[in-house]
Symmetry: C2
Subunit: 213 residues, 2 copies
């Protein structure tokens, strides 16, 4: 992107935070006006169904964009909640869309981000075993963290087990048991929220069924 483009983008950015764990970035039903890029920390997006059960849709690491699924419709279809200390950049959507008409590169990037999220959402919809889901979760976290410069083999899960379970559509007990078994089988090492991947190839193989697209 050229100089003036970066300048334009810089002008419409609004820095937000730091947010405390549990703080809302936006709430389900809020009127939609902006997307946001995570700068530091982790954000979860979730919806509350009719019976009051939370449904976690995703976890968002630094560098990732939240709020895209709200473009269609006046309101955010989900809430975004900080899992730890979070800082982010807020972009007015009307403004960034307008800018995108002048910057084909930016438009293309937005299309790609949206398209990528479709593929991502489709992943969880397959019918996969608990082992596959958890292996895929670990591998995906590892890849995304590695892409941000963190260690791919050893990292910290910033969310509680219940959130992982909810996100993967499993019972917390199942997550616990599978992680335990993976450890007994020498594939990983877990200590609370700290995870180390010991047999990446084995995990990749399991995860393949889910992650492939």
């Amino acid at each position: 992107m050229d100089k003036s483009a970066l300048h334009d983008l810089h002008v419409l950015v609004e820095h937000v935070g730091p947010l405390r764990p549990g703080a809302h970035v936006f709430r389900e039903g809020d009127s939609f006006d902006a997307i946001a890029a995570v700068r530091s920390g982790t954000v979860k997006t979730s919806r509350v169904d009719r019976e009051g059960h939370e449904q976690i849709l995703g976890f968002h690491l630094p560098g990732e964009i939240i709020g895209l699924s709200a473009i269609d419709g006046e309101r955010y279809p989900c809430s975004a909640i900080a899992l730890d200390n979070v800082q982010l950049c807020r972009f007015s959507f009307p403004k960034i869309a307008m800018l995108a008409t002048r910057l084909p590169g930016l438009q293309k990037q937005l299309f790609r981000l949206l398209s990528r999220d479709i593929g991502h959402a489709e992943r969880l919809s397959g019918d996969h075993t608990a082992d596959e889901r958890i292996a895929a979760f670990l591998i995906e976290m590892s890849r995304r963290l590695a892409a941000r410069g963190y260690s791919a083999a050893r990292f910290q899960l910033t969310m509680p087990r219940t959130d992982i379970a909810n996100y993967l559509r499993l019972a917390p007990e199942t997550v616990s048991r599978v992680l335990r078994r993976f450890q007994d089988e020498g594939r990983i090492r877990v200590r609370g929220r700290e995870v180390e991947l010991l047999d990446r190839p084995a995990l990749e193989t399991l995860a393949e069924a889910m992650l492939r697209p």
Copy 2:
């Protein structure tokens, strides 16, 4: 949209078809160059996993757009296959994206379509009972058909039971059994591929959990 916009759009449209049942609109892995709007008939999109099992991602009725999930990446992540006689309009994506920089209304529409697909893909990912899934499927078909001017209460399923089952991540037998029970309970009437919704409110209630967003 203004006159010249429509003209520009008209120029880059390419009419395709009629396609026979089973014919491919595009194949998983084909290099991505165009999106398409269904003009008549039904198209299913599906992926084949490592073990060779088909995974159906969606059914697309007249007026709906296919190929959006391919924007991110060089290739289509799924195949699109005609279920009956299908006609469609093909739009070169580079061209329509370029046009969108000149037509903010078109850009906005594309953003909305992409965003909507994210929400749609998220639906199937929830953990729902077979009853909820099938009720949601029937209600959603009814709504989409009604939006195209067809009857909301009585319609033809254009896909075999196996495809419905695959799409909903259920066994074909389960689909069969649930449809049978819904009929016994007086909620629907089924004769082969013909369906009539008799107790819409009951189905809506069941479907709510899935469809709500």
